[in-house]
Symmetry: C2
Subunit: 417 residues, 2 copies
Amino acid sequence: MIRKTRLFTPGPTPLLPAAQFAMAAADIHHRTAEFRALYQRVLDQLKLFVGTKNDVLLLSSSGTGAMEAAVSNLTSPGDRVLVLSAGKFGERWTALGKAFGCEVDVVSAPYGHTFSLEEVRKALKIETRAIFMQATETSTGVRHCVPAIADLIKSANSNALLVVDAITGLGTTHFDMDGWGVDVLIGGSQKAVMIPPGLAYLAVSDKAWEAMEISLNPRYYFDLRKERKNAHKGESAYTPAVALIAGLGAALDYIAQQGGGDLAAGRAALVENAETCAEMTRAAIAAMGLKLYAPDAPAAAVTAVLSPEGIDSGVFVKELKSRFAAVITNGQGEMKGKIFRIAHLGFFDYMDTISLIGALEHIAVSVLKLPGFQFGQALTAAQKVFAQRDPQAAAKRECQCGREVSHCARKTAAVTA
Amino acid sequence: MIRKTRLFTPGPTPLLPAAQFAMAAADIHHRTAEFRALYQRVLDQLKLFVGTKNDVLLLSSSGTGAMEAAVSNLTSPGDRVLVLSAGKFGERWTALGKAFGCEVDVVSAPYGHTFSLEEVRKALKIETRAIFMQATETSTGVRHCVPAIADLIKSANSNALLVVDAITGLGTTHFDMDGWGVDVLIGGSQKAVMIPPGLAYLAVSDKAWEAMEISLNPRYYFDLRKERKNAHKGESAYTPAVALIAGLGAALDYIAQQGGGDLAAGRAALVENAETCAEMTRAAIAAMGLKLYAPDAPAAAVTAVLSPEGIDSGVFVKELKSRFAAVITNGQGEMKGKIFRIAHLGFFDYMDTISLIGALEHIAVSVLKLPGFQFGQALTAAQKVFAQRDPQAAAKRECQCGREVSHCARKTAAVTA
């Protein structure tokens, strides 16, 4: 049987054809007027996509490079920083803080959960220089409430910078960087913006730019001040990943089209799209009698599913790959073998979602012969969600911060198994 | 919601990415050693794909060009020919025969059916120069039994040439051109070989080559003798569609891979793939309470479905396109508004088939609110077919010719609504 390779992974995500064509055509030298016009246009588009008045910078690196840039540009050795950690990417902030000589306080949440706001309040010291967090924790499929942390910093009269890794969050959950008071917001290319890995971007507030002037940590390739100086001339500081930048421009054009020509509306449509795919998937998982790994605060970017008792989650990964060429991901670290993860961020549609659920049911019913599972249950549940979904009702659910989720994340109803 | 354009049309069919890449890279002049090597390789691959010892020629034209070539090269004005017609493409043979001055006898079957072998026997005259037929009639989704007609010519001691339009038949139903005694077999590029329109190919028997020498109809661009002479030098007579030829080579490589490196096995795998997708779809249609347009001899290439009473079939076409960007086809001619057609030929897999059925159910249940329809019924039926399908059992059903279908078409069980 023919099997078409299909990525259902939370980065890299499926590629937008228009972006692929733009990449193939990108035979441009990076110190020319032609490139400067492209680069300036993409930086302007990124500002609209992020939804900020702040400068947005592009780095030719993975998202981790941008995370390092945030740490190395904003801290000095011996600085006290607070990491909010609930998975592998939270732990990466801790490792980065330590690598750059910071005293790292950590508020941890168990995998599959978000942290307690009360614990964050207690851990925030007067000398805390920065808080580092994720918007969504890709390794567990959890959404954190960014504005709740921003509010907490304000109410404590803290001077801490708020740095948010929104690599899987941008385009899957609502953001209001300027309104909330986020200082650095980080995105990556192989996520909701539908192009391959290799680019990261950062939106940086005035407060963060000021902080950089007194920070003593060493940085060169990731020196954001130098990058900004060059960006104002329409150039990158070092040789940029030209084809990826051309692809990003085409992808942002597509996202704008989805919003009737407006990038902010396009981003909102992208969030709504991910939420729809995620809600269909959560309903399917519940209908199969499987459990969500993060039932309380599920991200729209990726759904993490607990493998049934006695079955290594790698079996689902392997069977979907070998039988259907559909690629999902296992858990990472100690979650490996326990969960599998299905992505919804970026270029996914109804038909992708239905087909993955159909394949998953085939594995459960026909390959693993899990007791009590029947064909069509999960598919029917997903179809009903698609047909009856009411985004407004979904947005009225309560967020971690006590407000309706529409205020902070336009999050949709969690379907608890 | 994001909508990815997906073709479920019986030509053009979804493109193979490897063929797209080969087309993009095909910057070759057609009178060079480089092109001759490519062309010779593709012609050799086509012989293996068709499964014949005869020469196979490529034309830069649509399939209709190759149909014209068969008529203009094999007949003279005033020749008596017999057309077996059961749809729009059968009617095209009649139009071509008349355009080239032939006396055209026609055995017609009602749309949705195959013709009566007894009627063909009666219509075959001693002076009949050629029989023209389809292997599968794309407009109605019917499979005809080619070997039954070949046998009939033999048993009548007729000297008629047998010309088969296998444009949607090749790669969706079994062929044994040499064993059966087919004189001209015609294929097209935008079908099971997974590349865009623009190429047609013909396998031509020795008997047909001899007949060409005495045929008096005018031909120039489609003069097959000239084309063969050039093909033996590794060239085409006129400027060929170079990129399509490069794409065809890559597609035939892929089909060979599907057969473990062997093109004949790859073709068989392709037939089995189409049969699986078709059987899943027929089961889904039956589960929805809809009727097949060709329940007795359904082709694996395409499934034609009768629209429910009072609903124009164009509604299904339009709703699938506007809501999901999935493209199916309406009926042609007088079948327009009455049937819709879903293709399975070429680059389709389980996930494509499941997703289209899911989308179709959405239209039926949620948009048209057809009474008695429920989510999941069609999907479950398709899942069961995929899980339980037994190709051997399916092949034991009786063909039109009275033999097990495995002998003549490896046809699978029809699911009657």
